[in-house]
Symmetry: C2
Subunit: 278 residues, 2 copies
Amino acid sequence: MPDSARVAQRILDPADPRIAAFVSIRERDLTGRHNRFVAEGTVVLRMLAASAAGGGPFTAEAILLLENRMAGVADILAQFDETVPVFVADAAVFNAIAGFDMHRGVLAIGMRQRPQTLEGLLSTLPDEALILAACGLSNHDNVGAIFRNAAAFGASAVLLDETCCDPLYRKAIRVSVGAVLAVPFVRQGTAADLLAAIEGRGFALWGLSPRGRTDLDDIPPAPRTALVVGAEGEGLPTAILAAIRTARIRQKPGLDSLNVATATGIALHRIASLNGRV
Amino acid sequence: MPDSARVAQRILDPADPRIAAFVSIRERDLTGRHNRFVAEGTVVLRMLAASAAGGGPFTAEAILLLENRMAGVADILAQFDETVPVFVADAAVFNAIAGFDMHRGVLAIGMRQRPQTLEGLLSTLPDEALILAACGLSNHDNVGAIFRNAAAFGASAVLLDETCCDPLYRKAIRVSVGAVLAVPFVRQGTAADLLAAIEGRGFALWGLSPRGRTDLDDIPPAPRTALVVGAEGEGLPTAILAAIRTARIRQKPGLDSLNVATATGIALHRIASLNGRV
């Protein structure tokens, strides 16, 4: 392909139909629509490019840049297929499109090229694996933060039940610093469905709960461990707490429990250290 | 005092001057004004009452409740001095005052009754203590989350440099689940000033950094430990990293570092466990 394919198309009019997908982007939730999502910022664009170039499930449908960001992301743009259009605008036009003062100046409409199935995800896990299963996480910040922690501590996959919010929601991707695009995940079924799918695959299952029976520091090493977490406040369903081993993070009594993302980070760090994953 | 002193004053008009301090509360930042702050929700109100009743530095200047919350917080209200006015309104008036649909229905204007000095705070620390010093934390969520973690892991105090945002900001208090009102803190000076004040008090000083020289798990026990953290991205100033011992949290290479509140939670958990504080 000629180099000219990578040349950005200049946008002069915020109403230009070519960039309609970027209009008032903060008010949009694209996630329900054909597996599209909003990727913001250089770091997230880099993760999106890595997925696209590395055979991952995600790529960009279109990219919109503030003109002074072009040079800084040239190496990232080169990783996308030549057919992905790149648009560029000055600050006034860019902000008029986005609908707010978007200092980062880097936006993409991402797309999931193919769905990830639970069976497909589980069957490709390595012999040594740490996975995270979560249910009832309805807060985008927490879901994003949990993916960030999952990536930091080398989790192989994240399984979300259908009551969790979509990690491809704009704010969750941003809070995850792009980890949502790097750690394989599914979001489907109930927590019980997810645990049933894990069963028989050699995972040591550990539910995290303030009332857990084992101290986190006493979890034994295992080639495959699945950490199971529930929503803040409610925690894991009683049926799940009764069915699997449970671990607690020691803390001062009489206080609200830890934030779920922080608790998950502490537990993933411990289990990853224990099993030599980090 | 007669029980009638605790009877709530009913507000029928959102423009009633008695509740002027609660108008459009989400848009206000009271923190700069005479040490006032906004406390939202039952849990935070309970922490405020505990401070007021327990000789702590905080109390309420006024309390505004949705009428159906009155019964649920009666025990909390009883902890405040009888002179603290309690106002009550129905949902329409309450939301018109607050400026948004405030489901929690529990608001207070808090006040700091007396300033906390750095010297005063340090001189009253117990012989066995864990304290946290932070610099450059400009994000209210992170500051709130750090206080929540400090409380959960039994930290005796939090020292913030003057470039940190005010933990008495509405959102920081909310994210901390009231821990800002429970863990003694100061916010003043530079990070170097704070460390100079700690010096000579028998604290093992540990800076947390992705490039720390000691694995977090290898920090030795000590009766008094001070954990020092910097802003996400920039991290701790080079001069501080050079002057004190530093610890790192093992994680996958090549990624953005952990969220600063999560990293602080992991480190506080480890140090608190190590020293038998939790």
